[in-house]
Symmetry: C2
Subunit: 312 residues, 2 copies
């Protein structure tokens, strides 16, 4: 068994995006086993989630364990840290343990890039960015590999953060703008921890594709529910999205119904579903799938040097 | 973060039994979080199970990942291998990864020992042993620490295995015997992978305590359902027992009803439940709990030297 710290040497998005796309394609074909994420609440501190899965076509099986500890920022620790265990399909021997902290942001960024590849209304795109954390960076970098970016319009609750973020992506004509202006774009990416609508329906023009990434737990929400009602919503996984995706709050309040989901990203990738017209607003509701974690872990194991550990 | 291979230096049952008892006591008090085990089937090869839990009173949280690959014996590999990840409750940082292969048999043996401590009809005991694998050894060794053993009566499908097992425990007057004779005892331990009744009701005398360990997946069964009906059945966890314990097959066939469960081992440990009379037959239906894995993992981390690994 090997341990992969993955402190340097992250795989490039030119390799990550296709690996994540392949995992979604298998999901679209119904060829994966992926029980629902299991949440354990560490009352007063945070929680941890256990995400097992198996992708037979890729010969990858395993589990990601990932925490969410909001008070970690004050401690100088990441809020989210993750570990992936890969299991040999034939023998069950654990073959790798991987620090999946950085990889978690990457595999989520890659999912947004895959969604943009299939659902962006035109090329090159103007990218709107709401929220400027680590996940926003991953989305910009993954998306830039999938579709040409002409301009980035950045908004953050803290203007200083938006300006710093824009400065980092000056090559893509990035600028800090008011939120209404950031929403006026071709591909809009939301990555905040918000628990109430930030993006209003009237700010979003026809044809826009939205990557709704922030909502990944019950009670989280970034979009005006009216936007969900008029848009074509593609989820990563219906079970997870209903429980903890962008649609979870509007479903609870009765403003959205799970029957209105247009399809899954996997179905879009395999050509079974897609945007109905160039004018439709499309939304990718991402909660994060265990199969994405397996796909990126398999890449690391194929490319990186690891520590040899005795097992069994 | 540290990795503990645990190839030597297993903690002694004098320390393991009390740790497992403490975990069951917390379970009995309703003080643990333990979602149901999640099964992923590696079709044609085996399966792996993911077992997350949190014991607030002991400050331990984490996940065990364990496989079952029946064809491994022919490969010279263990059928069951396991890895436990411990998560720091306050920060979510993974603090240890532990080879839990040997520990899995030990924590199950210790659960049987705790059950015998509270439910054995007398001391010293005659121990009946059905099945002579690694799990049977763990049960004998853990039980010997909990209650004095006068004699061991061993039966295995293969007489040679029973004789070899008996020779190993000569200090306890162990002997290979016919199955009816093995069942004539004070504490009976069953640890086979059987999918049909091996132990008939008429072979078991009043007052006997049975540790039913083998059945840990749907379809597995070692006891005559008539025995369950006339006995007082204590389970480790009702949800898991109904799904995959000794009672799972009789529930499916309608010969047993979950409403007949007398209580949990945790409730027995805290004195809330117990055998109703010296003549009652009692059964401990063990499926194996994630909290047992956490309790024994915490012991290892406290006692063993591990490999230092960079994280996060």
């Amino acid at each position: 068994m090997k341990y992969y710290p993955v402190h340097s040497g992250y795989p490039p998005y030119t390799r990550v995006n296709p690996a994540i796309e392949a995992a979604f394609a298998e999901h679209g074909r119904g060829g994966v086993q992926m029980p629902p994420k299991v949440y354990v609440t560490l009352v007063g501190n945070g929680d941890f989630r256990t995400m097992p899965a198996y992708i037979p076509a890729l010969g990858v099986a395993g589990v990601k364990v990932v925490n969410v500890h909001p008070q970690n920022r004050a401690r100088g620790l990441p809020t989210v840290m993750a570990l992936t265990v890969l299991i040999d399909v034939e023998t069950g021997v654990p073959r790798a343990i991987i620090n999946a902290t950085g990889l978690t942001a990457m595999r989520t960024g890659a999912a947004g890039a895959v969604a943009a590849k299939y659902l962006a209304p035109r090329r090159p795109v103007t990218l709107g960015v709401i929220g400027t954390g680590r996940q926003a960076e991953a989305l910009v970098e993954a998306t830039a590999v999938a579709v040409a970016i002409e301009e980035i319009r950045v908004w953050s609750r803290t203007e200083k953060s938006a300006e710093a973020f824009a400065a980092r992506y000056a090559d893509y004509n990035a600028a800090s703008v008011p939120i209404e202006r950031a929403c006026d774009c071709d591909v809009l990416t939301t990555t905040t921890p918000s628990t109430g609508p930030l993006v209003m329906a009237e700010w979003v023009r026809e044809g826009t594709h939205i990557n709704a990434i922030g909502a990944d737990a019950p009670g989280k929400q970034e979009l005006d529910p009216m936007l969900l009602v008029k848009a074509e919503v593609f989820v990563d996984d219906p079970g997870q999205a209903v429980h903890s995706g962008e649609i979870n709050v509007p479903i609870t309040t009765g403003l959205y119904d799970a029957g209105m989901i247009a399809g899954t990203l996997g179905e879009v990738v395999i050509g079974k579903k897609g945007r109905s017209s160039p004018d439709a607003i499309t939304i990718f509701d991402s909660t994060g799938l265990a199969i994405q974690d397996l796909a990126i872990a398999a890449l690391v194991v194929g490319e990186e040097e690891g520590y040899e550990l005795p097992f069994p």
